[in-house]
Each structure stands twice: as structure tokens, then as C-alpha cells.
């Protein structure tokens, strides 16, 4: 009797357990597909950019694209030199980083090494908001507040569209980005290092810049690199405030177009699908993708290094 009962019970349990295992497999498969979809996104980005760019480079040789100094693809006599767009992109990023790196780094050192916990807790969320403001709003601010302000005070001859105010505002936007990654890196430096330094008679400032900052250097470099990548890819601020004429200039007081601003400009027009003009935005996009990819990968490895260090 007991034996047959046990067998009956066994018979019921087994299919249920099998069904359960089956269900687990299905769930795991579904979750795996979701994770894999992120790789799929990257692959399709690369595929689409490369596919359309190959079409583009069938019409315009790569050497001309990289060396010609005029970018007028939508004119009657089109020229396809990416250099002016590249120049505008680098110039605006340079201005932005000239603001964001010093302000971001000093803020990070202050928040991590000097500030009382209360100040830190209060300031950090507000700083985060700074990077959450829609970029189109920053564009408005750069064009209709910062430029007039600069014109009225230190640069009377400044044109209405210029790289300077776009870059300045972009820099402010990137501060929280740089300061939060740098601060994470600084706080990952073990207290013993600082205590050692204090024991040798060093002050807070000396300890910060001779012990904590060097120890956190790879993380801080990662912050800079990721900040640059952010500046290079920023679109709306430059599209609104920097003007949209591509020009080969290194003077931030002049208007210039970036790669991103050009893509926006073309997208606002009405280019037929498949035309060379339509393909230019993919060729320009591929350029942008490669630049940011290089910075992001460098940032990734730098960040991983500081995580492993201690």
C-alpha cells in the first residue's frame, strides 16, 4: 500500500517538475533574447551607417572626403570635404571641455575631499538636474541669453551665431557628468592612503592633489574622455546657437557647423531617399560614430582600471 502510494505520487510530481523546468528554460531564453537585443542595436547601427556610407563613397572617393576643405553637398556644385564639419565639432568640444574640465574636477575634489556630508547630499541631486535639462532649452539659453550677454559685456562684435556661447553652455551641461565620475573615482581611493599622507604632516589640499587625485587618475581620465565624447555628439545646442555654415575656422567667436548640426539641417529639409545628399548624413554619422566609439572604448577601459585598482 505505502509503496503504491509513493509511486502514484511520484508519477504526479515528475511531469509537474518537467513542466516547471520547461517554463524556466523559456523564461531564461526570453531574458537572454532581451539582453542580446542590445547587441543587435549596435550591430544594426553599424550596418546601416556602413551600408549607406558605402553607397556614398561609390560617388565620392574617401580620399576627397577626408582632404577636401569645403563642405557644400547641397549646392549646385557640391563639394564633399568633411574637414570643416570636423573642425566645427572639435572647436565646440574644445570650448566645452575648457569649461567642464576645470569646473568639474574642482567640484569633484571639493565634494569628495572637503565638503561636509550635508553639502554633498544637497548639491549632488541639483547637479544631476543640470545634465537632465533638455538640450533644446540649453540651445535657447545659449542663443538668446549668453550671446547677447557676451555682446553687451566683453565681446561687442560677436556675431549672433557663434561657437563660443554654444560651447560655454555645453560645458556647463557636461560639468555634472565629469564631476560625478571623478568623484566616484576619488571616493574609491582607500582612506589609508589619505591617513598616511596626513600622518606625514600634509594638509588637506596637498593630500587631495598629491595623493587622492593621482590615485584616482584613471577614473578621472575616464571622466574627461567620456565628457569629450558627450560634447562631440551634442546636437541641439550647436544646431541652435552656433550657426549652420560649415567653415574651416579655429576662432570660437565665429559661426561654424558641427557634424551633428549638419545632420539636423539636412533632416529638416526634404531630401529624397537614396540621393547622394541623403547619403551624406550617414557618411557624416559614421564619422561621428567612430569618433565617439573610440572615446567610449577608451573611457570604458580606463574606468575598469580604477575599479580593479583597490
Amino acid at each position: 500500500m505505502p509503496m503504491s502510494e509513493a509511486r502514484a505520487g511520484d508519477g504526479q510530481v515528475r511531469p509537474r517538475r518537467a513542466a516547471r523546468r520547461m517554463g524556466e528554460r523559456i523564461v531564461e531564453g526570453g531574458l537572454f533574447c532581451a539582453a542580446l537585443s542590445s547587441v543587435l542595436i549596435t550591430l544594426s547601427i553599424a550596418a546601416i551607417l556602413i551600408y549607406e556610407s558605402v553607397e556614398f563613397f561609390r560617388h565620392i572617393p574617401l580620399s576627397l572626403f577626408l582632404t577636401d576643405t569645403v563642405w557644400t553637398p547641397l549646392f549646385a556644385e557640391p563639394r564633399y570635404g568633411i574637414l570643416p564639419l570636423l573642425c566645427g565639432t572639435l572647436l565646440s568640444s574644445f570650448v566645452a571641455m575648457a569649461v567642464a574640465i576645470p569646473l568639474g574636477l574642482v567640484s569633484a575634489v571639493y565634494l569628495s575631499e572637503f565638503a561636509p556630508a550635508g553639502v554633498r547630499e544637497a548639491v549632488k541631486p541639483v547637479l544631476e538636474i543640470l545634465s537632465g535639462v533638455p538640450t533644446v532649452v540649453y540651445g535657447y539659453f545659449a542663443l538668446l541669453f549668453v550671446t547677447p550677454l557676451l555682446q553687451a559685456t566683453i565681446l561687442p562684435g560677436l556675431p549672433g551665431f557663434n561657437v563660443l556661447s554654444a560651447g560655454l553652455v555645453m560645458g556647463i551641461m557636461i560639468i555634472p557628468y565629469i564631476s560625478s565620475i571623478s568623484e566616484d573615482a576619488l571616493r574609491a581611493v582607500p582612506m589609508e592612503l589619505r591617513e598616511g599622507s596626513f600622518a606625514m604632516g600634509a594638509g588637506r589640499l596637498e593630500t587631495s592633489f598629491r595623493v587622492a587625485v593621482p590615485a584616482a587618475m584613471s577614473g578621472i581620465m575616464a571622466a574627461f574622455v567620456l565628457g569629450i565624447s558627450r560634447a562631440v555628439g551634442e546636437t541641439m545646442i550647436v544646431a541652435i546657437a552656433a550657426g549652420q555654415q560649415p567653415s574651416l575656422t579655429l576662432d570660437p567667436r565665429e559661426p561654424a557647423a558641427t557634424i551633428t548640426a549638419y545632420i539636423v539641417q539636412v533632416a529638416l529639409g526634404d531630401l529624397p531617399h537614396g540621393s547622394v545628399g541623403y547619403q551624406t548624413i550617414f557618411a557624416a554619422g559614421l564619422m561621428l560614430f567612430l569618433i565617439t566609439l573610440a572615446f567610449n572604448v577608451a573611457g570604458y577601459f580606463l574606468r575598469r582600471r580604477f575599479r580593479e585598482a583597490y
Partner: protein, 312 residues
């Protein structure tokens, strides 16, 4: 006596050194505060300048009017309706996908090269400029899949954009749950999915919500990718209503209608020569800013509230 004098001299000199160091420390602290003040003052100036230009334009009519050639009659009705619908698609697609991917990477993924690739890839996705997502959507959704410049395309584009944010938030939330919870669940015979669905997900919901809100607030302000896929700047009609009087009472035609979103009329107004439309742009910007600030505040509140309540 002499020895005592020497020590006291040294003490004086040392205290001079220390006070000099202290002074430098205080100077740097002041510099740090000044840097933070620059950042925060910019935020304040931004709000004030938007309010000064735009507050007078904010009215019921502004939200209930279509765009117009006359600055005083132009409104954002199609834009905010478009924003709501696009965001609904984004949330429906992006949140489940992101949470599922996060769960897999944190709880299921074996340590192998494929997992490594997925991880590096998610980090990289977060760093890709938003306009590149626009190019992807233009080539893939608009032309290859032939979805056109529709609300569906816009929503999918932004879903891709917030995916890394949701994935990272999910992973961090699940990682914060202590091992003992998992061990306890396994010890009473639960399967992995039971552990995830009965324990890990409910416990990490507040933190995941924080990430989701921040992702969505970014999606609301996102302009470049939607311009890239060809969202209209001037639109004088609303998408088809999702509810209809005849059977089957719900309609999904709106998914395939052309659209605009809140930042786009603002961009359009800012780009016009002359200052006629600047007030409108500022008003639209003010709306965007208030939504963003409110969502960020909600996220911060959630984070602090639950961090205080849950102590592992």
C-alpha cells in the same frame, strides 16, 4: 631653560606652517564652492530667463492651439499630444525590454565571452550620441521596415535610447539585494524565476523606477533623433483618437500617424529670425523644464525615501 625656549620657538614656527596650510585649504574650499555656484547659478539663470520671456505666454490657449504664423496665436496642442503618445510607446517597449535584459545580465548570465560582449556593448550604447539613434531609426524603421515617420517609429527610437539607462538601473538595483535573500529562496525549493519574480523584482522596484523615470525624462526632452527621422515641425491636426465609438472601441491607427513632440516647436521657434517667437519658445521651454524637474524630483524622492526605509 634654553631647551624649553627652543621647543616653544619650534612650536610657533610649526603652527605658522599649519596655519598657512589651513589657509590654503580654506581657499580651495572656497574655490570649490565657487565652481559649484557657477553651475547652480547657470541653472537658476536658465529658469529665470525662460520665465521672464515665456511666463506671459503660458495660458490655457497655448496648450489648446495649433501652430500658427502669428506668434500670439501659436500653441503646442499637437506637440504635447504627440509627446504623450510617443512616450507611451517608448515606455511600453523600452521598460520591459530593459528590465528583462538587466535581470538576465545580473542573475542568469554565465561568465563567458558572450556576456562580456553584451556588457561592454551596453556601456557603449549609453555613450552613443542620440542623433546616431536617429540615423538608425531613419534607415531601419522609416525605410527598411517601411513604418514611415510615425508615432510608432518615434516611440521605438526613444525606446532604444532609454534602453541602456533602464538596463543599468535594473542591474544596480538587483545587485544591491543581499545574497542571503537568494539563499533563503533556494533553500525552500524555489526555482530561479520564482526567486526573481517573487523576491528580486518586488524588492528592486523602487530603484528600477528611479532609473525608468530618469530615462523617460530624458526621452521627453530628446529632439535630435526625432528631427532626424523627419518629425514634422508644423502640424495642424491631431493623431487619430485611440478610442472610437464603434466596435472594437479601441483603434491603433494613431500609431501610424505623423507627429511632433514638445521640443520640436520650441526648436522651430528659436530658429526663426527676429524675437517675435522667442516668447513662445521660452514658454515651451518652461513647460519642458517643469516636466523634467518634476520627474527628476520624483526620482530623487524615490531614491532617498526607499534608501532610508530599506536596510538590509
Amino acid at each position: 631653560m634654553a631647551a624649553g625656549a627652543a621647543t616653544s620657538v619650534r612650536r610657533v614656527r610649526e603652527s605658522g606652517l599649519i596655519s598657512r596650510k589651513r589657509r590654503k585649504d580654506r581657499l580651495f574650499a572656497a574655490l570649490g564652492l565657487a565652481c559649484l555656484a557657477v553651475a547652480l547659478a547657470t541653472l537658476a539663470l536658465l529658469v529665470v530667463s525662460l520665465a521672464a520671456d515665456g511666463l506671459s505666454r503660458l495660458s490655457w490657449d497655448f496648450f489648446m492651439s495649433y501652430p500658427s504664423r502669428f506668434a500670439s496665436r501659436a500653441g503646442v496642442l499637437p506637440a504635447w499630444v504627440g509627446s504623450v503618445l510617443v512616450l507611451a510607446v517608448t515606455a511600453l517597449m523600452g521598460i520591459p525590454l530593459g528590465i528583462a535584459a538587466g535581470i538576465y545580465l545580473e542573475e542568469y548570465a554565465p561568465k563567458n565571452w558572450l556576456t562580456d560582449i553584451i556588457e561592454i556593448n551596453v556601456t557603449n550604447l549609453a555613450g552613443i550620441p542620440s542623433i546616431i539613434y536617429g540615423l538608425l531609426a531613419l534607415g531601419l524603421f522609416v525605410y527598411a521596415l517601411n513604418l514611415g515617420t510615425s508615432i510608432l517609429t518615434g516611440g521605438l527610437t526613444l525606446a532604444l535610447l532609454i534602453l541602456p539607462v533602464v538596463i543599468v538601473a535594473t542591474r544596480e538595483a538587483i545587485r544591491a539585494i543581499p545574497m542571503s535573500i537568494r539563499e533563503a529562496a533556494y533553500s525552500v525549493g524555489s526555482t530561479k524565476w520564482q526567486l526573481v519574480s517573487h523576491h528580486l523584482l518586488p524588492y528592486s522596484t523602487p530603484s528600477i523606477m528611479t532609473g525608468v523615470i530618469i530615462g523617460l525624462s530624458r526621452a521627453i526632452g530628446e529632439t535630435a533623433p526625432l528631427i532626424t527621422i523627419g518629425a514634422l515641425t508644423f502640424i495642424a491636426f491631431l493623431p487619430a483618437p485611440p478610442i472610437q465609438p464603434e466596435f472594437p472601441f479601441v483603434s491603433f491607427r494613431w500609431l501610424f500617424d505623423p507627429f511632433t513632440v514638445l521640443p520640436i516647436p520650441m526648436f522651430n521657434w528659436v530658429s526663426r529670425p527676429g524675437r517675435d517667437f522667442a516668447g513662445n519658445a521660452a514658454a515651451a521651454g518652461l513647460v519642458l523644464l517643469i516636466i523634467t524637474l518634476a520627474m527628476n524630483a520624483a526620482a530623487i524622492y524615490l531614491r532617498y525615501h526607499f534608501r532610508k526605509r530599506i536596510k538590509w
